[in-house]
């Protein structure tokens, strides 16, 4: 087996590129922004299927004639399937949806089936955004706490930096590609947090075990050894998880596509970060069996 790859020698390069990508991601999120769906922005979403394929510009023109403000029409999966998004207007017209449906049925010259209609009001959308941010923050805090209880603070800091790295870069890629952020993407991000943590914990467990086993060698070598020992597991689990995710991405339908894409990104980034972000931080803190023993003395009086 291809044991003993020198990961540590790559730490510097990896860290520099991680920092650059991280900063770029923040830059994109801050300036280009995230493409929030109606869950977080409010507005109306209509998925429709027409009997005979039509030009999406016909839908756009029909809706523009209604003076609805910002309207977004795109193809959605199969031929004849379209997704329409209408922005939130201040004057809340309770008849908006039936009016849109009627106008489309009258003007498209084909049978129209309204497969999905969603409308999220401004109050609800701002609440959903708020509770999503709370959920992600709480998840990060809970992970931090768990690692702090199970390991020492250096591990806690390392894993949380790795998590931030994963979440920010995943969102950064969503910003660059202008992919929609909705409730299921938030679910994906939280799952990524769990998965990335899971990966980091496995390596950390081994590093700690090896620190006590090989007290003479440096943290760099211990980290390298531990990463190599757990490498097979890291790869196999990533592969099986990715197999499941790619299957959802390709076959799971249009609604799950964004979710599975976010998860695929997250699994790849999360696997990378456990090796190249979480482990170097232990080196940075000069963790050794001595620092760990001190910690234990403190805990056990």
């Amino acid at each position: 087996m291809m044991k003993n790859i020198n990961f540590v020698s790559q730490f510097k390069k990896a860290n520099i590129s991680s920092v650059i990508i991280f900063i770029l991601s923040i830059f994109f999120i801050a300036f280009k922004g995230l493409n929030y769906g109606i869950d977080f922005k409010g507005g109306t979403l209509i998925e429709l299927r027409t009997e005979s394929p039509i030009n999406s510009s016909l839908i756009r023109d029909t809706l523009n004639s209604m003076d609805l403000g910002d309207v977004n029409v795109k193809k959605f999966g199969k031929d004849g399937d379209y997704l329409i998004k209408v922005e939130q207007r201040e004057n809340n017209n309770s008849n908006l949806i039936p009016e849109i449906k009627q106008t489309l049925s009258d003007n498209l010259n084909t049978e129209v089936d309204f497969r999905r209609v969603e409308n999220v009001g401004p109050k609800v959308s701002s609440e959903l955004l708020e509770s999503s941010i709370i959920a992600i923050s709480l998840a990060l805090a809970a992970m931090l706490f768990y690692i702090w209880v199970r390991f020492e603070w250096q591990f806690s800091v390392g894993s949380i930096i790795a998590l931030f790295h994963d979440v920010v870069i995943t969102l950064g890629i969503f910003s660059v590609l202008s992919l929609e952020i909705n409730l299921s993407i938030i679910a994906a991000v939280l799952t990524i947090v769990g998965y990335s943590m899971n990966d980091t914990v496995v390596i950390y467990d081994r590093i700690r075990e090896n620190l006590f086993k090989y007290t003479k060698i440096s943290i760099s070598d211990v980290a390298n050894l531990s990463i190599n020992e757990t490498l097979a597991r890291t790869i196999i689990t990533s592969v099986t998880t990715l197999l499941a995710l790619v299957s959802i991405y390709i076959l799971g339908g249009e609604i799950l596509r964004g979710f599975s894409f976010a998860m695929i990104l997250g699994v790849i980034i999360g696997t990378y970060s456990s090796i190249f972000v979480a482990s170097p931080i232990l080196k940075f803190f000069k963790v050794s069996y001595k620092t760990l023993e001190k910690e234990e003395e403190k805990i056990v009086p």
């Binding site: 109050k123 679910a187 799952t191 769990g194 943590m197 099986t240 499941a244 995710l245 076959l251 799950l256």
Partner: protein, 514 residues
């Protein structure tokens, strides 16, 4: 770790059997009287409408504060408290007062306080006052007073919403309180919620008021159904509260749809008196501030039965009758969130969900077999058992399966093998230094145990938080992911370990590869 006592084995398989047997219940199509449990399909899979309604108690607070004017003035007069410049605001009353100490004593009296009753369960008075400048004070509802108004309005609204929806006759509606101001309505199978939305969008406050130009109560200028402006007395002769039944009917002479109604005894009396005293005048029937019609009173109506006409179509008459039967909403309801999924999209989602589950499952199984051969088979058996148990638990809980929930199951399939991978990789390492196969397996299992737990608890934390904060479909994902982790731990550490032990103990002497 490889030794199992007989009783252990018995319990492991008993638990597995008892839980996974429930997954089979989902295959039955007929109602089973003994064990009628099934995984519910979420609205995104079976199609239907989800509505989130919000009450707005502002107008109610306004109404309630106005109703305090007369008792408050009476209290002041009876106790010789001089007040001046009494002003009614939207949600408060302002006036100037000299003897503030005496007022405070009366205002916050716990005994027979008709103006400001004490609410026992909140340990608070209904009203509060605060000093403005000089001698002016402002009386308004206390925090708990507002809460009481809000809560009773919400309770009442839920009741009325339930009656209206039951009356329309959709199948198995769910109507629940959500937070302090909201009502969640789920209507499975409903393709177009517009009619329901229309019915819930009306408060349906019905009043009978005389058309007159000289009323001591003041008048409202309203436009009647045929366009004339009428002055309607503010005095309410009778309101919809006195209705006990309303039905759509066809008036024979003109073949016109109307709504005929029946009044309770008090209503019949009131109505009888008003119609006797005002023969020849016109009586306006006002619904939510709009005149439906304003017919002439030809003769006294004392039977307690009447009829409302107003150029209705039959559908309109049916809906009006339904609204009147179900009673008036205390406050207007606003639809703040609405999601409707058509039945064919739901079916497509089920199909694609199950296809991707099957494909993902097969891929993972093939990969595991390729990597670990016979022990791959053990891991795969555990995976199948895992899936059965996961569906079994979902069935026992009668959980709601959503499309993201199916994604959660697929993800569980991908991640569940991790526990076995961790263990097997550890055993491989142990085999390098350990000569005894049994010892290597034993050490592998015990050393990997902590890691497996650590790794799964982190994902479980994410799932729990997602469940607490997520809504609707996302909650469905959190449920499957969370339960999946627990069944994973069980199958990896008990079932797969036992199967592994059988293989290892039987092939101890041979050169066993993993």
């Amino acid at each position: 770790m490889l030794n199992f006592s007989k009783i252990n084995i018995f319990f492991i398989y008993l638990i597995f059997f008892l839980i996974s047997i429930f997954s089979i219940l989902n295959l039955q199509f007929h109602d089973n009287k003994i064990l009628d449990k099934k995984v519910n399909l979420g609205l995104d899979l079976q199609g239907g409408s989800y509505l989130l309604l919000e009450i707005n108690s502002d107008s109610l607070v306004e109404e309630k504060i106005q109703s305090k004017v007369i008792p408050l003035k009476k209290l002041l007069k009876d106790n010789n408290l001089e007040y001046r410049n009494f002003k009614i605001n939207n949600n408060s009353l302002v006036f100037s007062l000299k003897d503030l100490d005496k007022f405070e004593l009366l205002f916050y009296s716990k005994k027979e306080n008709l103006v400001n009753p004490y609410i026992d369960n909140y340990r608070s008075f209904e009203l509060d006052y605060k000093k403005l400048d000089e001698n002016y004070i402002e009386v308004m509802f206390s925090k708990f007073g507002l809460l009481t108004i809000n809560n009773s309005a919400l309770r009442q609204s839920i009741e009325i919403v339930r009656r209206r929806i039951d009356d329309v006759g959709t199948k198995e509606p769910t109507i629940l309180q959500r937070g302090e101001k909201r009502i969640l309505v789920e209507l499975p199978g409903l393709k177009d919620p517009e009619r329901i939305k229309k019915l819930l969008g009306k408060t349906a406050q019905l009043n009978f008021r005389l058309v007159s130009d000289n009323s001591e109560f003041g008048v409202d200028k309203l436009i009647s159904e045929n366009g004339e402006t009428l002055e309607i007395s503010k005095r309410i002769v009778m309101s919809g509260e006195n209705l006990i039944d309303a039905q759509p009917s066809i008036q024979n002479q003109k073949n016109e749809p109307t709504v005929s109604f029946t009044l309770d005894r008090l209503g019949a009396q009131k109505f009888g008196r008003a119609t006797s005293d005002n023969v020849g005048k016109r009586l306006a029937i006002v619904l939510d501030g709009k005149i439906i019609s304003a017919p002439n009173i030809n003769e006294p109506i004392t039977s307690g039965k009447g009829m409302i006409s107003g150029n209705f179509s039959f559908q309109e008459a049916t809906d009006l009758a339904l609204l009147l039967r179900s009673g008036a909403l205390p406050t207007p309801l606003e639809v703040v969130e609405e999601r409707t999924v058509g039945p064919d999209l739901g079916e497509d989602s089920i199909k694609s969900g199950i296809t991707s589950l099957a494909v993902g499952f097969v891929l993972v199984i093939l990969f595991m077999f390729y990597k670990y051969k016979i022990f791959g088979l053990v891991a795969n058996t555990a995976l199948i058992a895992n899936l059965l148990m996961l569906i079994g638990v979902l069935t026992i809980l009668e959980a709601t399966l959503t499309l993201p929930g199916i994604a959660g199951i697929i993800l569980t399939v991908g991640m569940a093998v991790d526990a076995n991978v961790l263990i097997y990789e550890r055993i491989r390492e142990e085999l390098k230094t350990e000569k005894s196969i049994i010892h290597a397996f034993d050490a592998g299992y015990s050393k990997a145990k902590i890691t497996v737990l650590d790794a799964n608890i982190t994902t479980l934390i994410a799932a729990v938080i997602l469940f607490a904060f997520g809504s609707g479909p996302v909650k469905g994902f959190a449920i499957t992911l969370g339960i999946g982790i627990i069944t994973t731990l069980f199958t990896a550490y008990f079932l797969a370990r036992h199967l592994t032990s059988i293989i290892v103990l039987r092939n101890n002497h041979k050169d066993l590869k993993i």
